[in-house]
């Protein structure tokens, strides 16, 4: 009798277990569903417009069929390169400073400041770049856009560099110091080369992040519809172009926006995949 009773209890426990496991799986699935929906929907809507001309042609005027986003693609590349050139050295230097100063109050202050910078809304970053670059230069430019994106990149690169450098044992620092090498040279010439994959990973993640930023570009790089005309001219970018075209009334332009979104998501996806591969190698 007693055994029977126990096994009945066991059975109900198993059923409960199954039910809750099912619920958990469903919830987990629901959490990542948006990702699949976005991908699937972008593929369905964007695929139709995917052709060579999308990458090679500039947009045609409203009403005309055809055209591409060559201006936005080249502009995005220029903006990201500018952001990387301005932001990466600054971010890495900042990360190294954080590690070198360790627990000093300067380092604590810097760390809080960097975390705050990370959470500043990107539209505010755009305003800042507007005031600092666009107004004095009297016009929208790739410089201004790159500058705004660099500000978004710096804290990401700084914190990831710091985390990577913190993984290097103190004994390696000491080995360098004991050879009579100055502290900054120990960091730049001995420690940094050993963790370059890790630092690169941080840089790629930051690039992936800014490649989709729209708000900081709206009134810095602005946009154009004829392709790249130099660093001091307004420069188109994929996110801004998508934003403009998606809200237009022209069917051809809306199709371009869908395809542009597909390309953008694909690029971000590839950058993320690349960081995963790099991380696994380290």
């Amino acid at each position: 009798m007693k055994n029977m009773k126990l096994s009945a209890k066991d059975r109900s426990r198993k059923i409960y277990n199954q039910i809750w496991l099912g619920v958990l799986c469903l919830l987990a699935f629901a959490a990542i569903m948006p990702l699949f929906f976005i991908f699937a929907y972008l593929l369905v809507r964007g695929w139709a417009g995917l052709s060579l001309s999308f990458f090679t042609e500039i947009p045609k005027p409203v009403g005309e069929v055809g055209g591409g986003m060559a201006n936005a693609i080249s502009g995005s590349l220029v903006l990201m390169a500018l952001a990387a050139i301005l932001g990466v050295p600054l971010g890495i230097t900042c990360g190294m400073t954080l590690v070198e100063l360790r627990k000093s109050s300067t380092a604590k202050f810097l760390r809080v400041a960097i975390d705050l910078l990370t959470s500043v809304p990107s539209i505010v970053v755009g305003l800042f770049a507007y005031a600092l670059v666009v107004v004095p230069m009297k016009g929208y430019s790739a410089w201004a856009g790159g500058f705004a994106l660099a500000i978004v990149m710096v804290p990401i690169v700084a914190r990831s560099t710091e985390e990577i450098l913190k993984l290097v044992p103190r004994s390696i620092h000491e080995a360098g110091l004991a050879l009579g090498i100055p502290r900054w040279k120990v960091l730049v010439r001995l420690i940094l080369p050993g963790v370059k994959t890790g630092v690169t990973t941080g840089v790629l993640l930051a690039l992936a992040r800014v490649s989709g930023e729209t708000a900081p570009l709206l009134f810095t790089a602005f946009s154009n519809s004829f392709g790249f005309r130099g660093l001091s001219s307004p420069t188109a970018s994929l996110p801004v172009q998508i934003y403009t075209y998606a809200t237009s009334h022209d069917e051809t332009w809306r199709q371009l926006a869908w395809t542009g979104a597909l390309v953008l998501v694909f690029v971000v996806f590839c950058l993320n995949l690349l960081t995963r591969i790099l991380m696994r190698r380290t």
């Binding site: 390696i172 000491e174 050879l179 001995l190 050993g194």
Partner: protein, 267 residues
């Protein structure tokens, strides 16, 4: 306590001398007023139980102790020619210039990750601005030979230093320290992380190194001190209890605490 040895040491020129050297970690006083003199071309062993301050003591001799947060040093360390009036703690002395003259080998092998065997040895010179290939080649070979590693690595100098075994890595670290031609070589328990065969190899090479450099070696292993050193200092609770010829210390210690330690009654 150390007077008889000090007078002996007077005859040979001292490679290094400390005068009333004190060191702290925050409020913790770990090295208490150590005065000792290390004759040129000695292998000088520092023995004592864990936490007796011997590692901190040698980290003061190349001004590495001060790199730790909250660490502090007071006293004099004299190394002939290393600084004005020979005192490496005189004001205005750049620690970097001291560390070029006083090399260090650590407890755990710590080759630079990402650098080849060649670059691990050459890096000290390279970063000091020496770039002539033939000079570097020469120094790398000489240093690796001194560290008894040349034969094992001469065909794979481009491989990463971290690809070597633990014992080989430690000899690589010795070669790296020797490459900058230090006057004094500090070794902080260099064999405690190694197997007996690697330990024996390093002991052999330390004995040979005597001809080129003065060695201070911290060790937990009293047999090791007896095998390789010609002079020994016994530390206890941050104080120097006794110094003397190694044979004397091990056969006829003057202080009862030294005797208790070497006969294994504590530590």
């Amino acid at each position: 306590m150390a007077s008889s040895v000090s007078t002996q040491a007077m005859h040979a020129p001292a490679a290094l001398e400390t005068r009333d050297l004190n060191a702290w970690f925050g409020d913790l006083h770990v090295v208490k007023g150590i005065s000792l003199s290390v004759p040129q071309n000695d292998v000088y062993a520092l023995i004592g139980p864990s936490g007796c301050g011997k590692s901190t003591f040698i980290r003061c001799l190349n001004r590495l102790h001060e790199e730790t947060d909250g660490a502090r040093v007071k006293g004099e360390v004299l190394i002939p020619g290393a600084a004005k009036a020979d005192n490496i703690y005189a004001s205005g002395v750049d620690p970097v210039s001291i560390r070029r003259r006083v090399g260090m080998v650590f407890q755990k092998p710590n080759p630079f990750p990402g650098l080849s065997i060649y670059d691990n040895v050459a890096v000290g010179l390279k970063l000091a601005g020496i770039v002539r290939r033939n000079i570097l080649d020469d120094v790398v070979e000489t240093s690796l030979r001194q560290a008894a590693l040349w034969e094992e690595v001469k065909d794979k100098l481009k491989k990463p230093g971290t690809s070597l075994s633990g014992g080989q890595q430690q000899r690589l670290c010795i070669a790296r320290a020797l490459a900058v031609k230090p006057q004094v070589l500090l070794m902080d328990e260099p064999t405690s992380a190694l197997d007996p065969i690697s330990t024996a190899r390093i002991e052999e090479l330390v004995i040979k190194l005597r001809n080129d450099v003065t060695v201070l070696i911290v060790t937990h292993n009293m047999q090791q001190a007896a095998r390789i050193s010609n002079r020994t200092a016994f530390f206890l609770l941050g104080e120097l209890v006794e110094t003397g010829a190694t044979k004397e210390i091990f056969t006829n210690p003057k202080d009862t605490r030294t005797e208790q330690y070497i006969t294994g009654r504590f530590g």
